[in-house]
């Protein structure tokens, strides 16, 4: 298996996508969406941009399965960090235990 060389066209496309994403996220921030949609939109754009960087600039798309597993492990442990912490903080006061 030899190294995959990503073409200049792909790099330029990703670069433009990232710039458009930045412009979109700034524009969306000034619009008052209902409930928590401002945060959801901002994070969706950020995750999309990050995904493009990881897949193309960081060549993950062309990397071995082993690298994919390592990246997935990062997301997995982050999920644990957030899930366990917020399962505590967000559920405080749900039950009245009489003290």
């Amino acid at each position: 298996m030899s190294e995959h060389i990503v073409s200049v066209r792909v790099y330029v496309t990703i670069f433009l996508v990232l710039l458009v994403g930045t412009a979109l996220t700034v524009l969306a921030a000034f619009v008052d969406f209902r409930w928590k949609f401002n945060t959801i939109i901002a994070l969706t754009i950020a995750v999309t941009k990050a995904t493009f960087v990881v897949l193309y600039f960081m060549h993950l798309r062309y990397s071995s399965r082993l690298v994919w597993v390592i990246v997935a492990s990062a997301l997995f442990w982050m999920a644990i960090l957030f899930a366990l912490t917020f399962s505590d903080y967000l559920t405080r006061g749900w039950l009245s235990v009489g003290y």
Binding site: M1, S2, E3, I5, V6, V8, Y11, V12, I14, F15, L18, L19, T22, T25, V26, A29, F30, V31, D32, F33, N38, T39, A42, L43, I45, A46, K49, A50, V53, V54, Y56, F57, M58, S63, S64, L66, V67, I70, V71, S73, A74, W77, M78, L81, F82, T85, F86, Y89, L90
Partner: protein
């Protein structure tokens, strides 16, 4: 190294404990990814603290965020994305064995990185002027922004508190702001150092299509630092813009 070794191993940069260049390159990339996972966990802790306090003090976080300079923040996002692009191009030119454009791209990446740090310094100085450095980090200049009064003419240097926000809660935002952007800036400074090393070695013609792990691996690091900023920018600068002026 004698000629026989060269013939057996194929490339002068191949270390003896690797079978071939391909295996050596893969091992390097893999090691860098493992390191980046630890970095993700490190920044993850700060993102967790941010999420926690933001959910506790939403109005204060929106007020404090509105005080940040969105123009400089957006500009820096563009600068960093551009630098990621030039870094990716540097890897590309190394892979196809073009030394001159490779050096140019690396120098551009370094310059853009330094531009980012310069803009960041201007922002930090603005925060210093407005007494927004949290706690007593600056001796003799503790946290104490002037608060914008209702009905008074708008002063961009004063803190505009949204209903329900207090100055102490805003201070919490600034602790996180300086911790997160500060650690990010430290990573940028380290990255700039690594790029300087890359430029020197690429000027000496050390990298070729067969051997370029340092360029590839430092590129991974640089893109990772870019990704952190991709999250920091909306989370720190944009969270309260729809709730009115700062």
């Amino acid at each position: 190294m004698d000629a026989t070794t060269e013939q057996i191993h194929g490339h002068h940069s191949l270390q003896h404990h690797f079978e071939n260049m391909e295996q050596q390159r893969e091992a390097g990339t893999l090691g860098m990814w493992v390191f980046l996972v630890t970095e993700i966990m490190f920044f993850g802790g700060m993102f967790l603290a941010y999420t926690l306090y933001r959910s506790k003090f939403p109005e204060a976080f929106a007020s404090a965020s509105n005080h940040l300079d969105i123009t400089l923040g957006a500009l820096n996002t563009g600068v960093l994305i551009f630098s990621s692009f030039t870094m990716a191009m540097a890897v590309y030119f190394t892979q196809i064995g073009k030394q001159r454009p490779q050096v140019i791209c690396l120098v551009l990446t370094l310059l853009l990185g330094l531009t980012f740090l310069g803009v960041k310094a201007v922002e930090y100085h603005d925060k210093y002027n407005d007494h927004l450095i949290p706690g007593r980090l600056i001796p003799g200049r503790q946290f104490g922004p002037e608060v914008q009064e209702e009905g008074q003419p708008l002063d961009p240097h004063k803190l505009h508190l949204l209903t329900g926000a207090t100055v102490r809660q805003v201070e919490m935002f600034y602790w996180l702001y300086f911790a997160m952007t500060g650690m990010h800036a430290l990573h940028m400074i380290i990255g700039a150092g690594l790029l300087t090393f890359l430029i020197i070695f690429s000027l000496k013609g050390r990298f070729d299509p067969e051997y370029h792990s340092p360029v590839e691996v430092i590129g991974l690091y640089w893109h990772f630092v870019d990704i952190i900023w991709i999250f920091l920018f909306p989370l720190l600068y944009l969270l309260g813009r729809h709730m009115g002026h700062g």
